[in-house]
Amino acid sequence: MPANFVPPSGVEYIRVLPEIILAAVATLIMVLEPLTPAPRKRALGYLALAGFAGALAGAAAAGWRTGPAFSGMLEVDGFATFFRLLVILAGLLVTLVSFPYLRREEAESGEYYALLLYSVAGQTIMVSAADLIVLFIGLEISSIASYVLAGYMRREKLANEAAAKYFLLGSFATAFLLYGIALIYGATGTTRLNGIAQVLSDPRMAPAGILTGTAVALMLVGFAFKISAAPFQVWAPDVYQGAPSPVAAFLAAGPKAAAFAVLLRVFMTAFAPLTGRWLAIMWSLSLLTMIVGNFAALLQTNIKRLLAYSSIAHAGYVLVAVTAHSEEGVQAAMFYLTVYVFMNIGAFAVVAYFSRKGERYVEIEDLAGLGVRQPVLAALFAVILLSLIGVPPTAGFLGKFYIFQAAVKADLLWLTVLGLLNSAVAAYYYLRLIVIMYMKEPGDSLLELPGMAVSTRAALWTSAAAVVVLGLFPALIR
């Protein structure tokens, strides 16, 4: 045993409590999986639900005792706690949406829930990482679990395509990230985020610009893939379309929020001394992402693809907040991501419910007449869509408001104007959904629409309520 070894103290274990709970419950599910007969796999889902609830409590407990853990590998601060709670909540909602979906597709298994838990555990590690190595491993845990979840319906051709594309492109992007990490380590001699910032800001130690520039660029590519920012967004529509709807909801919520958290943390702390170099790239990245997302969404006829492009566009809005590069910008991004998680899970919950076995009804036209046959569901969906557009008094409006406010304060006038124009474009395709829901005659797609399961209903109501409540009382999380 090395002489300078200090065993981790008790409080450090509390700081990783959510990760411990998530991983332990996931492993427990895998142990119980072979012991559970096929009709009773749902019990494992309840266990996963309990795990997520426990992890929420754990994250809250960890949030009370902020500070570094495990020789500074993790930094549990307010930012980390916020995103931990967010990704765990996303996992919980997705589990709720998954229950009826998996039963309907006759694909309930412990592995699904275990992978979901592992993925969330990876995200909580990511958001609290203070070291690039931990960050990378967390990102990989999250990604590998999501690759498999995307291809969970193995017998579907589209799911296979989704998983293969997601895996190959994702691995490629991670390689970029890893190469960037290696270069930054070579340039600064450390993988600690604050250590990197220290070296970069010290004029005597400042390493070659070309090296750090390449490193930042490569890492940005890796992150941009994970948040599906253009031009690294091509995977998103295919993956969201092919993946099971609850998984698509998850991909657009948890991993994306966590990747944004990591992007914010790395670029606002470690690469803060290089702001002048990456700001212009971030500017164009956000603009391109918004434009690509919104204009491509106009052409979609498949709801899942449409939501995928909408998710790309929303990533663009959050990137505006990153470009603002201020305390306000960070807060705006945090608020927006929270709202987006709810909107997105709510929207996909509707898709998951509506699509029926084998995901047959996922075209926009299939929604025709929903407003007449299922007025409550349609109303909830409409609220979520209005929030996606950014109509007051929903939280979507406030989210955009905060972002563009931060952008204006950071003198990003042009970006703000272009972003607002983009929101106007976005209104068209969201409104089209509402129009079809309420104004069109019902077709075949509404025959044999089963009742909505309690758990989906809970997720949908939660999402819609959150969107409204946060819109009225933003102070709750700001």
Binding site: V16, Y112, L115, G122, I144, A145, R154, A208
Partner: protein, 170 residues
Amino acid sequence: MNPMWIDTLFFYFFALLVLGGGVATITCKSAVHSAISLIVSMVGVAGLFLLQHAEFLFAVQIVLYIGGVMVLFLFVIMLVNLDESMQMRQFNRQWLLAVAAVIAAGVQAVWLLSKPADLPAAVPQVPGGPGNVQRVADVLFSQYLLPFEIASVLLLAAVIGSVVMAKKRL
């Protein structure tokens, strides 16, 4: 005999293995030849580790990458019908772009190395003391305890993922 001179010679030998293997990996038509070239490249990397007196990494590189990863690679490749894949279009048509990227990276590396002041000082070697394995273990189980532990979560998730992809009933 000048040990410095021998070290330099070996360095260029292994570097040649790494680069030559790498180039052959992406240019070979047959997947098996590509895999073998990759192995050659990895042997070169292992040799470079050895030159840096990182014996542990040397052995681990060979055991894991050549003995583990690449053998499994070869397994999969052998079970695939190679004649068919030989006729398929290969994804390496953009070699002009690739050459440009390689030259750019090379220029960058040369430019950096020509200004050693910009690079962080090399970690000084500690003569004597505990062996390579002990030193790796010391760091791994104290400072890097958390990454080490969560790496096992990563592997577990990957194992479960492969079970999901492979098991008969879903």
